[in-house]
């Protein structure tokens, strides 16, 4: 059985122009990136679109990747910046009334879209638990929400610190205030 290539090996091959090697990095990390973006956008299509754009930007900017952090945290940083830009733009558009208002943090439409996509009752319980959690996360500041979303997608404290370019101490203290707000909201 062949040993799977490490991210570093795939990055090295991709930098040499091997798009197939970059495809391996997409397979490995895009799902996680799109998942935490879903907690920011509350719209599966918008999250997937931003995740795709982040990976395309990473591919084009691979020459600037110095390898001081892991590929995962580097591409997560690109994705977070992409998401923040898009959210700012969406906010401005809605402020200028260019877009029709849509259901958002208070629940409504996006939750219904997700519920209608579930295949059966086995998934109901986990999805409802997740939606409860997302409603509690709506009380968090943008930074707290980013950290909580990354944590729920399995990022370590160190990976979050690298993705957000902050210290691990900052991640810990932000997580402390975030979990206390969530606890209050869920009780």
């Amino acid at each position: 059985m062949p040993v799977p290539e490490t991210d570093e090996e795939l990055v090295r091959r991709a930098r040499a122009g091997d798009a197939e090697a970059f495809g391996g990095l997409i397979e490995r990390h895009q799902k996680t990136v799109a998942s935490f973006l879903l907690s920011m956008f509350h719209d599966p299509d918008a999250a997937e679109d931003a995740a795709q754009e982040a990976f395309l930007k990473a591919f084009r900017g691979l020459g600037r990747f110095e390898g001081r952090s892991s590929f995962k945290t580097w591409v997560s940083r690109i994705a977070l910046n992409e998401a923040r830009s898009r959210l700012r733009w969406a906010k401005l558009r809605s402020w200028l009334s260019l877009d029709a208002p849509r259901g958002d943090d208070d629940g409504s439409s996006w939750e219904e879209r997700l519920r209608s996509a579930r295949p059966g009752p086995a998934e109901d319980e986990e999805l409802e638990k997740k939606l409860d959690l997302e409603r509690a996360m709506a009380a968090l500041s943008p930074r707290e929400r980013e950290i909580a979303a990354l944590r729920l997608e399995g990022y370590s404290l160190g990976e979050i610190a690298q993705s957000l370019e902050v210290s691990e101490g900052t991640v810990k203290s932000t997580l402390f205030s975030a979990t206390h707000k969530m606890r209050k909201r869920l009780s």
Partner: protein, 147 residues
């Protein structure tokens, strides 16, 4: 282990309910930390799957092949020439244009230039007050006056 150290460690391991033996021992002898530990475990339970894994979107969304489709679509776009991305610079450009328009409207308008050549001003004054020169003798007496 003191209360502060226990609580910091506890919450930074969320959503995994990982509690070390030292923290467990401390909580047994401290009512406040015991309550904190219960609260932590309750939140972890609400943030995890039945199997104790963090409740990621991957675990809560139906596995309908969405990630495979996304990966395939991204791979396809890798090979396309670079496309123009969403115009995230447009708000900045709009703000700059609005700022420039405001500046042009509100800036102080400079007064028209008043530095008319002195000789022309004197001539103009002379003709405007020609009636003062009815005394043609005086006019004739002026240097370069009428003959």
């Amino acid at each position: 282990m003191n209360c502060r150290a226990l609580q910091e460690d506890l919450w930074s391991s969320w959503p995994r309910a990982e509690v070390g033996p030292e923290a467990e021992a401390h909580a047994r002898s401290c009512a406040e930390c015991a309550r904190e530990l219960d609260s932590f475990r309750a939140l972890c339970a609400r943030s995890s799957t039945k199997g104790g894994e963090p409740l990621s979107w991957d675990k809560s969304l139906p596995g309908d092949g969405r990630w495979a489709r996304l990966a395939a679509s991204t791979r396809k776009r890798l090979l396309e020439p670079a496309r123009r991305s969403a115009p995230v610079w447009a708000p900045a450009l709009a703000a700059a244009a609005a700022g420039l328009a405001l500046f042009l409207i509100a800036r102080p308008v400079p007064k028209p230039a008043t530095d008319v050549p002195m000789a022309a001003a004197e001539q103009l004054e002379f003709f405007e007050h020609l009636d003062l020169f009815e005394n043609w003798d005086a006019v004739r007496a002026m240097p370069g006056g009428a003959p």
